[in-house]
């Protein structure tokens, strides 16, 4: 195993250590899933085929949102608060003198965390929901594979945004304001609140091209079979494009930050 594979494995194990926290997370996701699923059913009862989704698809959208919430870190959190705190207190000095790349190091650890959250907090809510709601889940294993690929790209986009947010600590010392703004943006522009297909006009056009749509809207649409053939390739390319652009931005800001700014503390 290479270094970053070990970092990812440790990232996975770190989160696996806290079983009660995981169970509490699953419980919360499930409760929210029920509340939102009934809300959606009421809405779709009034306006069938809203945004081109049938009611079963809409309910599936809700449960996928709950299942991916932790894995894709849509509300932020995970490594980002830790890194921001390390920058604020100066512990980032330790990360910097290691013979390792700062961004790859944290990306690996976040991928490990995401893998755990996908298993630990993703499977259970949707599995429970399948007993109570009619869900539209694909039969084809190929669709599931593309869905997982799309989720993985979404996690990388999410990481890249949170990495940039954490780096602002080098200048702001307190990144919590920016973290709150990005959490709000995450809820709204990922499609967590309502699928982005429902937003009309300019707002919808803008929401669909922002990076947050790569975190939930696109993976769920892949799962629901709304992207096929060339459309599927385009959707994945859109995610990969944002991932590459945001990672490059993070790398640039990181280089600038570590060369120009003080590492805090004696």
């Amino acid at each position: 195993m290479g270094l970053y594979a070990v970092v990812a494995a440790l990232g996975f194990r770190r989160y696996a250590t806290y079983r009660v926290a995981t169970a509490a997370g699953v419980f919360t996701n499930t409760v929210f899933g029920f509340v939102m699923a009934y809300t959606y059913m009421a809405l779709w009862d009034e306006r069938p085929h809203l945004g081109g989704y049938g009611v079963a698809q809409a309910v599936t959208f809700v449960w996928m949102g709950q299942s991916l919430l932790a894995a894709s870190s849509i509300l932020g959190g995970g490594f980002e608060q830790e890194l921001a705190e390390r920058i604020r207190k100066g512990d980032v000095a330790i990360d910097l003198y290691r013979p390792a790349d700062l961004q790859l190091w944290w990306l690996a650890s976040d991928l490990g965390r995401a893998a755990f959250h996908l298993l630990g907090r993703g499977v259970a809510p949707t599995a429970a929901a399948a007993f109570f709601f009619p869900l539209t889940l694909p039969d084809s294993p190929v669709t599931w594979l593309f869905f997982l690929l799309s989720v993985a790209l979404g996690v990388v986009v999410s990481f890249a945004i949170r990495y940039l947010v954490a780096l602002t600590s080098f200048w702001l010392l307190d990144a919590s304001g920016i973290q709150q703004i990005t959490a709000l943006a995450g809820i709204f522009f990922s499609g967590m609140l309502l699928p982005l297909a429902l937003f009309p006009g300019r707002l919808g056009d803008v929401a669909r091209v922002l990076p947050w749509s790569a975190m939930l809207q696109i993976p769920v649409d892949v799962l629901l079979g709304r992207h096929t053939g060339g459309g599927l390739a385009q959707a994945l390319a859109f995610q990969a494009g944002w991932a590459a652009a945001l990672l490059a931005a993070g790398r640039l800001v990181g280089m600038f930050a570590t060369r120009k700014v003080v590492v805090q503390g004696g």
Binding site: L10, A93, I94, L96, Y97, P99, T258, V261, V262, V263
Partner: protein
């Protein structure tokens, strides 16, 4: 208040040469060690920060603060050197530049022939760092996992890794701690864990930034013993920053003192005490209240009921003093207090400015 460092390429930062008066004495000293082959070489190293202070509702004034103000020294391979000074003197800034995580404003700096800031990753494979107040270990996971990561990070060959880990485990008593999550370790245990983590890849240089801070006496002794072994057996070059003069006394033949970003002493510990005219204190408990004790070679500096404090030169032996007092006074108990490093330096610095 926001702080920004000025990098090397910053045109606005004037590079002022260090004052000749401050460096003249040291040049000879650095020259002597360079002849033995300097492994760590600093030449007129400067690091300045721009600090913005509030000067009005919206106004901020910029101040340049020189954390390191023209330091030159040379450390030979295999040396164990103490690097001391009061808080804010510039010790940690120097270590950050030596590890390459801060870019010097001006001056030259090489470690093992490399420029730390430019070749940070290459250098990182050859150095070990322990920051006493920070940890490189994974908080939520057992010690063993962090070591496994070190092995990958530094690409340590299997046999070498096992040998080093066994060695550290034995000398630092890590055996029972290996499977305990780091968050459950005591400070002393964690520090031992961190020191082992810094040594698994056989670093040529070890920087220790207050490795005994907050440790109890037993843990301190254990850490010191281990560091001495590492330096003697592996020939690891050690640069030790500390506030505990005992660390220096027990480990380092050479000590460098930094104050206000400048090197004010570079030489033996005895010379430091002589330079600073430092004194030890004999605390004497008598049977009853008595007038200040009068003995040769010491003076009473404080009397409080039956307890008296006697100052005597740090270089003198306490034994004859004790014998004399015990012979002439009703002695109940006594203890010797070492001079505090801050006092030594403060006195030395005051003497320097008086010259």
């Amino acid at each position: 208040m926001s702080i920004e460092s000025s990098g090397t390429a910053e045109p606005s930062t004037p590079s002022t040469p260090s004052e000749p008066s401050a460096t003249a004495g040291r040049a000879a000293c650095a020259g002597a060690t360079a002849a033995r082959g300097g492994f760590i070489e600093l030449d007129g190293l400067v690091k300045s920060f721009t600090v913005r202070r509030k000067a009005g509702v919206l106004r901020r004034t910029k101040h340049e603060v020189r954390a390191v103000d023209g330091i030159s020294f040379s450390v030979a391979r295999g040396e164990m050197v103490g690097y001391i000074g009061p808080n804010g003197a510039g010790k940690s800034t120097t270590i950050k530049m030596l590890t390459g995580i801060l870019v010097p404003t001006s001056g030259r700096l090489t470690v093992a022939g490399l420029d730390p800031a430019r070749e940070r990753t290459r250098l990182a494979r050859r150095i070990g760092v322990v920051f006493g107040q920070r940890t490189t270990l994974w908080w939520d996971l057992p010690l063993r996992d962090s070591y496994h990561l070190m092995r990958r990070m530094y690409r340590i060959p299997d046999a070498r890794y096992r040998q080093n880990l066994d060695h550290c485990t034995e000398l630092l008593d890590l055996g029972p701690l290996m499977d305990v999550p780091v968050r459950q370790l005591s400070l002393g245990q964690r520090m031992r864990g961190d020191i082992a983590a810094a040594l698994l890849h056989d670093p040529e240089v070890l920087y220790l930034d207050e490795p005994t801070i907050g440790l109890d006496v037993v843990s301190k002794a254990k850490v010191r013993e281990f560091l001495r072994t590492v330096n003697e057996e592996l020939g690891t070059t050690v640069l030790l920053t500390t506030h505990d003069l005992t660390d220096i006394e027990q480990l380092c033949e050479r000590v460098m003192v930094i104050d206000h970003g400048r090197l004010v002493h570079d030489g033996g510990l005895d010379a430091l005490h002589a330079d600073g005219g430092s004194e030890r204190t004999l605390v004497v408990d008598l049977e009853r209240e008595l007038p200040p004790i009068e003995v040769e070679g010491a003076r009473a500096v404080r009397v409080e009921g039956p307890r008296q404090w006697l100052a005597f030169p740090a270089s003198a032996s306490a034994a004859p003093l004790v014998a004399e007092i015990a012979a002439e006074y009703p002695l109940v108990d006594l203890s010797v207090r070492e001079p505090a490093i801050e006092d030594v330096i403060a006195r030395m610095y005051a003497d320097r400015s008086a010259l």
